[in-house]
């Protein structure tokens, strides 16, 4: 039975993520719990928490889940898993185990449920991990994702607060998945472009993590719901630097700029822009549509890494060699300027 999962969601292209502004406001008063073994906590809005077990071993823990971002159940499972696993990679870790988190409408055929779980499972296997269980409840719309545990050597943790002035910024995947999903929901995107977006979303950030480990990179983050601008801002604030993004160098998936010009700008893009614009310095040269691309919420996006200038060329080559074909240098890290993020 063929059911288009995207047709089950009512909220249209306005993504499921709660606004960062609202979230920060709501949680501002809660006490911050610290612990000597907690190496990375939520303070810097990093991708995952890191808890030290031994001097040479720390757990990386993260979770992510969302309503369907694509039409097919198997694709959805794969994308949701790749997205949940990504946070472990962004911290420089490797995947150990995962728990499925699933909400499922009781009136949908169980074959759909199976395809979602199968998609997720195959991704975890590809990542070298194990699914060790999960939990399923009923809900009006499907929601799927995972709680993932990985590990990392405490000395090799990659965080978003270690970018140093002079570093070069490399982005491993092109932007535009939010735009394409919202166009797909309205049957306004060609199959080729849609498949390209699905393939990018399914692609694990595992090899990128391996290359970061090899080159001893200390600072990176994965690009997800807050868009390139949102995640770059967190990196800049955490690292106490300014980040310069060369807008024309930022890669986008095929046809994305045309879709933005048509008006396929999901609500999340506007929300992201609203969240960051006070802290961004946009040059007049940056076209409106490009601004919207940079703010586009990504699902299972690429890694943004800050690398030493002299290593940038070889890292770029290696990333392209292992399959991140659109990898590009998108900017650089500078001494702290008036605004944390500068877009030229």
């Amino acid at each position: 039975m063929d059911i288009d999962l995207l047709k089950l969601i009512d909220q249209g292209g306005c993504s499921a993520k709660l606004s960062a502004t609202e979230l920060n406001k709501a949680l501002a008063d809660l006490p911050k719990i610290t612990h000597k073994n907690l190496l990375v906590n939520i303070d810097t809005h990093d991708d995952a928490g890191v808890y030290k077990i031994r001097d040479d071993y720390a757990l990386v823990q993260t979770t992510d889940f969302f309503p369907p971002v694509c039409s097919g159940a198997y694709d959805y499972g794969q994308v949701a898993a790749a997205n949940a696993l990504s946070d472990v990679y962004a911290m420089g870790g490797q995947v150990l185990t995962a728990l499925n988190i699933l909400m499922f409408p009781p009136d949908l055929p169980m074959s759909i449920l199976k395809d979602i779980i199968r998609g997720g499972q195959e991704k975890v296997v590809e990542a070298g991990g194990l699914i060790v269980g999960g939990h399923t409840i009923t809900n009006d719309i499907p929601v799927y994702g995972m709680a993932v545990t990985g590990w990392v050597h405490p000395d090799k943790i990659i965080t978003n607060d270690q970018a140093r002035p002079g570093d070069i910024l490399i982005l491993t995947k092109p932007l535009g998945t939010g735009v394409i999903i919202s166009a797909k929901k309205n049957n306004s995107v060609d199959e080729d472009t849609y498949r390209a977006a699905i393939d990018y979303m399914k692609q694990l950030n595992m090899q990128a993590a391996a290359i970061m480990a090899k080159y001893e990179i200390r600072s990176a983050t994965d690009i997800t719901g807050f868009g390139l601008l949102g995640h770059a801002l967190k990196m800049a604030l955490g690292s106490k630097v300014s980040i310069k993004i060369n807008a024309t160098d930022v890669p986008s998936i095929q046809n994305v700029m045309e879709l933005i010009e048509t008006g396929f700008i999901p609500g999340a893009g506007f929300r992201n822009l609203e969240f960051v614009e006070d802290q961004c310095d946009f040059s007049n040269q940056v076209p409106y549509n490009t601004k919207m691309l940079l703010a586009d919420a990504q699902t299972s996006g690429g890694i943004l890494m800050a690398v030493a200038r002299e290593k940038a060329a070889s890292i770029l080559d290696e990333l392209k060699d292992v399959g991140y074909a659109s990898t590009a240098v998108v900017g650089e890290v500078m001494q702290q300027e008036k605004k944390p993020v500068i877009i030229v």
Binding site: N186, G263, I265, G267, F270
Partner: protein, 202 residues
């Protein structure tokens, strides 16, 4: 005038339809977009304003109407007969900026009372500013113990946008207490102040 009705359409289709209309409509012809999703109203308005198009907004119940033309920054004035559902019909839009929480100098108590008087008169005379902006101690008017909340809510129901300076709410530690309207930033406030020919500063 070109009218597009995007009620019932999911985000971001209202924006897609709006952009389509902008492309095919003469730059001096007015465009009216009818919407029923507050989120889409926000995004479409934001898009138009970002592109220097002045938008007039009307709301009745859950239906919103945005009125604008491609040519520019001047507000579109609709002829009365084509707009009989409107609760107000001013020939000149204006905004009010409250830089403090009282009217005039001298006695603070009197000043506070006069703000109530002024807003009551605005409500009674059916003059609705497009926006009211609250800066510095002006934010005392929009937080939970403000004596003029019900008046502001009435104006908001008529389509007046209430914008509070976020930095000011933060400064007075009143972000949690905001009761009407929404948090804004200096960019939006400046844009509002510069795009209206009539800005009343209190």
């Amino acid at each position: 005038m070109k009218v597009i009705d995007v009620r019932g359409k999911k985000c971001p289709m209202p924006l897609v339809e709006t952009k389509k209309a902008l492309k095919v409509t003469d730059k001096n012809e007015a465009i009216k977009v009818i919407l029923d999703s507050e989120n889409s109203v926000k995004n479409v308005t934001r898009y138009l304003e970002d592109n220097n198009i002045h938008v007039s907004k009307q709301q009745s119940g859950g239906t919103f109407e945005l009125l604008f033309k491609r040519a520019g920054s001047e507000p579109v004035i609709e002829e009365a007969e084509s707009y009989c559902t409107s609760s107000e019909q001013t020939n000149d839009s204006f905004i009010i900026v409250f830089g403090k929480d009282r009217l005039g100098e001298g006695s603070d108590d009197l000043g506070n009372m006069l703000v109530g008087g002024m807003l009551t008169t605005l409500v009674e005379t059916e003059r609705t500013p497009d926006k009211i902006i609250f800066i510095n101690s002006g934010i005392n008017l929009v937080i939970n113990d403000s004596p003029v909340l019900s008046l502001l809510k009435k104006l908001e129901d008529r389509g007046c946008e209430l914008l509070s300076c976020g930095t000011c709410l933060d400064y007075f530690d009143k972000m949690e207490n905001l009761e009407v309207g929404r948090v804004s930033n200096m960019l939006e406030i400046l844009e509002a102040m510069t795009s209206y020919s009539k800005v009343i500063n209190i």
